[in-house]
């Protein structure tokens, strides 16, 4: 099951990169968010015994649980949590708002920050 999560993260990230190259910034942002989200989920399942059924039973929202994992685990990484919040905003904009995500929103500095989050959790999960 864990290997599947790892594949999903990598496939999602590659797809996001391809969509970015094709200038489809809405779908790129959406895929990017879920690639990072699944990397955090992968870590939480492996290292923090996160269980989806228990979370559902306790009525705990998975997105906010993953956000708390990012906040707690990446507190030593300057601006990582800000980048995760910004990615949530872009994903919301891409999926629900009338205006498009722009190239400047997904600039290389921002993508590097987001990739750092993804790689951090993949590395921690597979330690």
């Amino acid at each position: 099951m864990s290997a599947n999560y790892l594949n999903k993260v990598n496939t999602g990230w590659e797809l996001s990169t391809r969509l970015h190259d094709q200038k489809d910034y809405n779908n790129s942002a959406s895929r990017m968010y879920y690639a990072v989200f699944q990397a955090v989920l992968f870590y939480a399942i492996r290292k923090e015994k996160f269980n989806r059924e228990t979370a559902l039973k306790d009525k705990k929202n998975v997105h906010i649980l993953m956000k708390r994992v990012v906040k707690e685990k990446m507190k030593d990484f300057k601006n990582a949590f800000d980048a995760y919040e910004d990615l949530r905003v872009l994903r919301n904009q891409a999926d629900y708002d009338p205006e498009d995500v722009r190239q400047s929103d997904l600039n290389s500095g921002f993508i590097n920050s987001v990739e750092t989050i993804k790689n951090f959790f993949l590395k921690e999960a597979t330690k």
Binding site: H63, K67, E85, V89
Partner: protein
């Protein structure tokens, strides 16, 4: 505190701190513990500065609750194109001034002379027609915003 009370409190707090912007909280459609603070009318080119300032304010004063608030900046161009109901009056073509009200009242009197009866509501509509003014309306959710089923 109930969610609607928290929204009112947060909007008032952010509105007071950033009087040049229009701030509204909308729930994240995929996470009922998170609100996006939509910050409208931010001058083009000042988005990053505004985001950092709003985020700092949120973390300083609004983080001690069961809800999370994330700033979502909408610059003036985006506000004008996609969210005109959140434009400040000063950005609209004609603001409500005494002369606009007088103009509407005079127009109303002229019509009344022709034996038509008008209510206060009619006069309000005339004033609105004359000043092209849109008051911001509160939108409970993205679903409500776009009239789509949740």
């Amino acid at each position: 505190m109930k969610a609607n009370e928290y929204i009112a409190m947060a909007e008032a707090s952010l509105g007071k701190a950033f009087p040049d912007y229009v701030v509204r909280l909308f729930p994240d459609p995929d996470d009922d513990a998170t609100f996006f603070a939509y910050v409208f009318c931010v001058p083009d080119g000042s988005e990053q500065e505004a985001k950092h300032a709003v985020r700092a304010k949120i973390r300083r004063e609004l983080s001690d609750s069961e809800w999370d608030v994330i700033p979502s900046i909408k610059n003036l161009s985006v506000t004008q194109e996609h969210y005109p109901e959140y434009l400040r009056r000063s950005f609209l073509g004609k603001s409500v001034s005494n002369s606009v009200v007088l103009e509407a009242a005079t127009a109303s009197c002229n019509v009344m002379e022709n034996d038509f009866q008008f209510t206060g509501e009619d006069l309000d509509l005339m004033i609105e027609d004359h000043c092209c003014c849109n008051m911001p309306t509160h939108r409970e959710s993205h679903e409500g915003q776009f009239d789509i089923a949740a």
